[in-house]
């Protein structure tokens, strides 16, 4: 069995995010990155399948040089191989572009199962997974909390209000994993040391025969990234609780909102 896991590297949750000079993205030159949290759960699902029997786990990421570290970490956790799409133009793709590139890899790899995260911590599109499934013509499920592998993939999905839904996907198929789906293992020291002996294939869009992704194919162009300006109309009341309540009532009356 072959399992492909799509990993995106995103700014570390503790990283300080500043908008770049031309206001199109964040300044990402000097910050720490980590594997998208959703994708760590997706990887763990794949590694659980590997632990339970025979599975070849291939991790795939589109991104610049720094992405090697995310891939090496995944190899250190137990993945067998990595594919790094390193191509400046690929990095400028929109969601459909990303999905097309990942689809080209899936077509070469022919996995039985594709796992992705439910969404990215930074972009929040939740779009790549269903697009990828469509491009590959695979049955898919999103928001998946647990999977059971047999002849098919039984997925438990999270619905509104704490309800769960069970769907059964014939293989090959795709599941976009929700956070909290499992207990993600730690990268082991031994695993990290062994990871450097595992193969990382580096590819460009041209290698994959993809011409309709990248900057030129973008349909939704990012116009502007900015931090909304802080309002200056907030007034902080001080004093004892009774005094504050008194001031608040006076204000409300003054403003005529009641």
């Amino acid at each position: 069995m072959k399992v492909m896991v799509c990993l995106k590297q995103v700014p570390h949750q503790d990283a300080r995010l500043d908008v770049n000079a031309d206001g199109t993205w964040i300044q990402d030159g000097n910050i720490k990155f980590e594997i998208n949290s959703y994708d760590t759960y997706a990887l763990e699902e794949a590694l659980k399948i590997k632990d339970a029997g025979e599975a070849d786990v291939v991790v795939v990421s589109i991104g610049p040089d720094r992405v090697t570290q995310a891939l090496r970490t995944a190899l250190g956790m137990g993945a067998d191989r990595a594919i790094h799409v390193k191509d400046d133009d690929a990095d400028l793709s929109d969601t459909l572009g990303c999905a097309k590139i990942l689809a080209a890899i899936a077509k070469e790899e022919n996995p039985d199962i594709v796992f992705t995260g439910f969404m990215s911590d930074d972009g929040n599109f939740s779009a790549v997974a269903p697009m990828l499934a469509e491009l590959l013509d695979l049955p898919s499920a999103t928001g998946v909390l647990s999977v059971e592998v047999g002849d098919s993939l039984k997925c438990e999905r999270e619905l509104e209000g704490g309800a769960l839904e069970v769907v059964e996907l014939p293989k090959p198929c795709l599941a976009a994993i929700q956070t909290g789906a499992n207990q993600v293992r730690y990268a082991s020291l031994k695993g990290i040391m062994q990871a450097k002996k595992k193969p990382v294939d580096v590819k460009t869009m041209a290698d994959l025969g993809v011409s309709d992704a990248g900057a030129g194919a973008v349909k939704a162009k990012i116009e502007k990234v900015y931090v909304p300006p802080k309002g200056d109309s907030a007034e902080i009341l001080s004093g004892s609780t009774d005094e504050i309540v008194g001031q608040l009532v006076t204000k409300i009356k003054e403003l005529g909102v009641l």
């Binding site: 293992r185 730690y186 695993g191």
Partner: protein, 363 residues
């Protein structure tokens, strides 16, 4: 050129260990100290990290990647989570490293594979002795050669995980030399005490060993007929302790900085008071200093150079400064410093304890 830049792999190791320490060590440290024990599932989880097996040659089931500097990085991160739990996680490595470095082929084949299995397995260094002016490199324990055997007598204290170690590497005087002998826990004449009652790092179990004419085959002498250089065993362990202490010091500092910024006294955060600000800068400088001394010693160990002096410098500086930093941690927290709701009193006890391990600062 001298560069302090980590390799990409070392950065990954540091990040992975930092994450582990934050998620799996710090949250349980207080409970372990209060309960004077470490939960089995912590030991199992650390075992899965392959901290020990990473260093064992591939032919015996390990990853065959040894770097004293990388180990120092690992230990600093784990130590910044909790010193006792860091030592527990790396418990077998003093024994394992001695076998890798100085064991005969037969000793490697006999002992190393057990440390690459799925289940926690440990063996300990028995170096320290419970008498005044004890110097681990000059033990009072003796080994007498008797035909094809050695007969060991003496007493060892602070032996880590004496309650569960399968073997002990006992340092003993052998004529004019000092040697190390592998003693199985069920050897006749070996008595393992109840756990010692320690001031700090209480989660760790340490025991006293009494060796009363314990006989081991000549093949159990580390390095066989050649014997070994016990200084190398002690050097590695001193570098390890210095690395853990660097982590401990960083932990105290990282706790004090936000505390001092938030704690308001006399109308301003105490971090604005020079007496606190200067103190914290000194804590920072000393922590950096111990890291560089540790890495220098580790680098000498890694290159196979004589590291005895460098390792002693690192350990001795780290021991003194860690105590000072932990003491200041208590001071900066004032009244909060000595109540058990805050961790600094635990770190203070741990610093006091770790500083005495393997020779007092004054020795």
């Amino acid at each position: 050129m001298i560069s302090f830049k980590l390799t990409e792999e070392q950065e990954m190791v540091r990040d992975a260990m930092r994450e582990f320490a934050e998620q799996a060590i710090t949250p349980i440290a207080r409970d372990c100290d209060e309960a004077s024990s470490i939960p089995a599932d912590y030991i199992d989880t650390t075992w899965e990290l392959g901290l020990v097996s990473a260093q064992i040659p591939e032919e015996f089931g390990g990853a065959g990647e040894r770097s004293a500097i990388t180990t120092a990085i690992v230990l600093e991160e784990l130590g910044a989570g909790d010193a006792a739990l860091a030592i527990a996680a790396m418990a077998p490595s003093a024994f394992v490293n001695a076998i890798i470095d100085q064991g005969t082929d037969a000793q490697k084949a006999q002992y190393l594979p057990a440390f690459c299995g799925d289940k926690f397995h440990t063996a300990s260094l028995a170096a320290i002795e419970p008498h005044a002016m004890a110097d681990p490199a000059n033990p009072r324990a003796v080994a007498e050669e008797k035909e094809d055997r050695f007969v060991l007598s003496g007493r060892k204290s602070f032996v880590l995980f004496g309650d569960r170690a399968s073997e002990f590497l006992v340092l003993a005087r052998n004529g004019s030399e000092v040697d190390a002998f592998i003693v199985p826990r069920d050897a006749e004449g070996l008595t393992i005490s109840e756990p010692e009652l320690n001031m700090g790092m209480k989660g760790l179990t340490t025991n006293t060993l009494d060796l009363e004419r314990v006989e081991v085959p000549a093949a159990n002498r580390l390095g066989g007929d050649q014997g070994c250089d016990v200084r190398r065993i002690l050097d590695a362990s001193r570098v390890a302790l210095a690395a853990i202490m660097t982590g401990m010091s960083r932990q105290v500092l990282e706790f004090c900085i936000p505390y001092a910024k938030e704690r308001v006294a006399f109308d301003e955060p105490i971090s604005k008071k020079q007496s606190i600000a200067f103190r914290m800068s000194d804590m920072h400088i000393d922590t950096e200093g111990m890291r560089w001394l540790t890495w220098k010693a580790a680098s000498q160990v890694e290159q196979g150079l004589d590291a005895t002096k460098a390792a002693s410098f690192a350990r001795s500086y780290a021991a003194e400064k860690t105590m000072w930093i932990a003491d200041n941690g208590v001071q900066i927290l004032g009244g909060h410093g000595f109540i058990r709701e805050y961790p600094v009193e635990m770190w203070f006890r741990a610093a006091r304890t770790i500083s005495v391990l393997e020779g007092t600062v004054s020795a």
